[in-house]
């Protein structure tokens, strides 16, 4: 079996797609779940809406992480493509995608609950931002692993 079979780019493209798709699913869940809480908060205290949109912005950042990894992987795709590079790219895309899914899930639940509690107790804001930061770095870990894996492709590039 050769090092560069014709089906190798399938795994590369699957990596690009999975990084974008799964992190977007996580970001969508985070945005929608915290948006429900913000709609509840907006009925009682509309002046707090700008502060309570922070979970939504953090969900957007999770999607930006997936976008950066997709752009990064897509930049090193080519027609002379080894199976090794395909697997590396698939692993990188899946790492970023599923960690983005996890981060978006956490941001959604935390954002919803903390935003509803912010109506009654304003000191919960600092705690909410801290928890959201911890949830967002989960996506950042996946991005770091995707970056590290992507360097392996550049090192081992001349198989075919």
């Amino acid at each position: 079996m050769s090092q560069c079979p014709p089906f190798a780019p399938f795994f590369g493209f699957a990596g690009v797609a999975s990084a974008m798709v799964f992190s977007t699913v996580g970001a969508a869940f985070g945005t929608s779940k915290s948006g429900i809480g913000i709609a509840g908060l907006g009925q009682f205290k509309p002046e707090l809406i700008m502060k309570s949109l922070i979970p939504v912005v953090m969900s957007g950042i999770i999607a930006v992480y997936g976008l950066v990894v997709s752009v990064l992987i897509a930049g090193s795709l080519s027609t002379k493509y080894s199976l090794f590079a395909g697997f590396v790219h698939l692993g990188a895309g899946l790492a970023c995608g599923f960690t983005g899914l996890a981060a978006g899930y956490a941001i959604g639940h935390v954002g919803d609950a903390c935003v509803r509690a912010y109506v009654h107790e304003s000191k919960i804001f600092v705690g909410m931002v801290l928890i959201l930061i911890f949830a967002e770095v989960l996506g950042l870990y996946g991005l770091i692993i995707a970056l590290i894996m992507n360097t392996k492709v550049a090192q081992a590039s001349e198989f075919c």
Binding site: I54, V57, I61, V68, L147, T151, A154
Partner: protein, 82 residues
Amino acid sequence: MKPNNSSGVLLKLMAFSIALGVLPLSSYYGSLHYLWEGNTIYSAITAVVAANVVLVSYIITATLEEGKASKAGSPSETRKER
């Protein structure tokens, strides 16, 4: 006062949404070509830093705006009590 305030908030939100979309990608490609000479890892890290800068500036803006709103609200309350 209220319609003026809500249009200002809407403009700020639109500016931050556009910045969150445009800044990371543009910083990725810009730093890839001009700063890091083709090193993709450093330019990806630059894009991540740009996205987090947008996030931190949004948190600071939201906190400052709430400080301004509460300061503007409290004198009118004391006039009511009199």
